[in-house]
């Protein structure tokens, strides 16, 4: 795993991609720093990091687009997959290399709080919390990008799909504000989830009885909750979207709060995408 990590990390700087990522990210962050903090003489670093999160959409695809797609295209995946390495080692190695480049880049932005510290007061805990959240959020997006790059052997498609997926997450955050929050739509939403679940179960086991049983048990649960406490369905759609939203969880960090459940959610999100990537590569062998 270490060998893959090292190789991948070096490749970032043997190809222009590492420099493009760092250069672009630092340029934009410097620009935001000047606009947000230097000119208005504000020491609010959390606001800076918050506005930088929207940059992920543009810079994460640069970092992840060639991770796995280029291996498939150059057929070097034959070398990796026929070596005594496990697929998980390969994928995790590559992921960590991308995260390392990202980490180094945000460590460089550490000079911003240092500059602010010279000329004014900043809360160390708030800065640290903001940075930890920022790092975790970025790492989640990198995991998404990693997964996407395993889907295709074309770097440009990988970049475009990653960009669209991240953009979609942003749009969902905006859209969910106008989602219906009354009881009936909550019930319908629950039914839709149940329907999707039943479909997944059917796809996995291909047995009509099991599917029917799942659907029946699910509708029983939905029905009984409706009978016992109707108000649980109020605004449930927004609650669920909020819970799953990566960006919403970031808000807590920027006020200096280290929320354990958010950290665990981020880490699970990363693990899930790495797992999916490994599964995707394993599955490709069987096609």
């Amino acid at each position: 795993m270490l060998a893959v990590l090292q190789k991948e990390f070096r490749t970032y700087f043997l190809t222009p991609l590492g420099y493009i990522f760092m250069g672009f990210f630092l340029l934009i962050s410097g620009f935001f720093f000047a606009l947000n903090n230097l000119f208005p003489a504000s020491s609010n670093l959390a606001a800076l990091l918050g506005s930088l999160t929207s940059m992920f959409m543009f810079v994460v695809p640069i970092l992840t687009m060639r991770l796995l797609s280029e291996e498939t295209r150059q057929k070097t995946d034959q070398l990796l997959l026929t070596s005594p390495l496990k697929v998980t080692e390969i994928v995790v190695g590559k992921y960590l290399a991308a995260v390392a480049v990202f980490l180094i880049t945000i460590l460089i932005t550490g000079i911003y709080p240092a500059i602010l510290r010279i000329h004014g007061f900043i809360s160390i805990s708030e800065v640290l919390g903001g940075y930890i959240g920022f790092f975790l959020l970025g790492s989640c997006f990198i995991a998404v990008g990693l997964f996407v790059s395993a889907l295709t052997d074309n770097q440009v498609s990988a970049a475009v799909i990653t960009f669209s997926s991240l953009l979609f997450m942003w749009i969902m955050d905006a859209v969910q504000q106008v989602l219906p929050n009354d009881t009936n739509s909550g019930v319908i939403f629950a039914c839709l989830i149940l329907f999707a679940l039943a479909f997944l179960v059917h796809h996995a086991v291909k047995n009509l009885y099991v599917t029917a049983l799942t659907a029946f048990a699910g509708s029983l649960v939905i029905g009984s909750i409706y009978a016992i406490n109707k108000s649980l369905y109020d605004g449930i759609i927004i609650k669920i979207f909020d819970w799953f939203s990566l960006l919403k969880r970031y808000d807590g960090f920027s006020s200096g709060l280290l929320n354990v459940s958010s950290i665990i959610y981020y880490l699970s999100f990363i693990t899930a995408f790495i797992f999916l990537t490994v599964q995707l590569i394993e599955k490709r062998r069987w096609n």
Partner: protein, 315 residues
């Protein structure tokens, strides 16, 4: 050393490899012959664990490639059809990386890399970027990669494709040299290569084994009857009646006149009959001197065409 049992690979409806069965003994060089698209690369990808067979098992040194992937893969060095090179690295960076993923200890690495670079003659380009190398050098770097970790089994998919004749001879000699210590499976659609290097040949077509033996036995067994080409000093009207009287001759055909005053004649004997002596005696009694007598064994090319086209007629 390698046991391939009943492997079948489907790509959707298409059957790339169909019920393939063979074993390779330790130290053997096996040639894998077949037209393009016969399933050679697919089979090799399955043996090395890059692809999984739809059904069937592959064992390397008794270890199933799916059940014990790490152990089995550590025993294999693989040169795929397209050498898997990271073109933005230099040769030595690349070989260092391959040593690391093949878990060669740093202590053993230096000496073994020197030996390998010496063997495939890439020492002089070690500092150059792989993308700037010629096709021949790239192929050799690919071969070097397969040799790292001193695997017992080498699987080489068309190792001489794209090389110039001199390099082809070098690589062939190298493969023969490697065959002394390694078990090798080599694929090719170039026949002289296989007959020059391999002890045993498997011809596959449309995913099935259509023939398998030593190159010599293959030409013998497939030559259903032996053919002789004669050049006799005499007109065909004089020669033909003499030949037709000899027992055991199936077929006589005049090929024409290449040299004035002689006739070229093709004679086909019945199976397993040596008719050279009767021909000599009969013609010398008739005072027709034999100027040339040459047996026409099937070359590997002809065998190859014969078995691959026969199969097409059947299916």
């Amino acid at each position: 050393m390698i046991q391939v049992e009943n492997i079948t690979k489907h790509y959707g409806q298409h059957v790339a490899v169909d019920q393939l069965n063979f074993t390779v003994k330790k130290g053997e060089i096996l040639g894998f012959l077949g037209p393009n698209g016969a399933g050679k690369s697919t089979t090799m990808n399955i043996i090395t664990g890059y692809l999984s067979a739809t059904s069937g098992t592959v064992k390397v040194d008794g270890m199933d490639i799916l059940e014990y992937p790490e152990e089995a893969k550590a025993k294999i060095g693989y040169l795929p059809e397209f050498p898997p090179l990271y073109t933005e690295m230099t040769v030595s960076e690349y070989l260092d990386f391959v040593s690391a993923i093949k878990k060669v200890t740093p202590a053993a690495k230096k000496a073994s890399l020197e030996k390998i670079m010496d063997l495939v003659k890439i020492g002089d380009v070690r500092g150059r970027l792989i993308k700037n190398l010629s096709k021949g050098y790239k192929q050799r770097v690919g071969l070097a990669q397969a040799l790292i970790g001193n695997p017992q089994v080498l699987i080489l998919d068309e190792p001489t494709v794209g090389l110039d004749p001199k390099q082809i001879i070098e690589i062939r000699n190298l493969i023969q040299q490697l065959g002394q210590e390694h078990t090798i499976i080599l694929s090719s659609h170039i026949l002289p290569e296989v007959s020059a290097v391999c002890e045993r040949v498997i011809i596959i077509n449309r995913g099935r084994i259509v023939a398998g033996d030593t190159p010599e036995n293959l030409s013998k067994s497939l030559a259903a009857s032996s053919k002789l080409l004669l050049r006799v000093g005499g007109a065909s009207e004089a020669v033909l009646p003499v030949l037709q009287k000899i027992a055991g001759i199936k077929f006589v055909e005049v090929q024409g006149v290449r040299e004035t005053g002689t006739t070229d004649i093709l004679v086909e004997a019945e199976k397993d009959k040596d008719i050279r002596r009767p021909i000599f005696k009969a013609l010398s009694q008739a005072e027709l001197p034999i100027l040339m007598m040459r047996s026409l064994d099937l070359t590997l090319e002809e065998i190859f065409l014969q078995v691959t086209t026969q199969q097409q007629e059947v299916s």
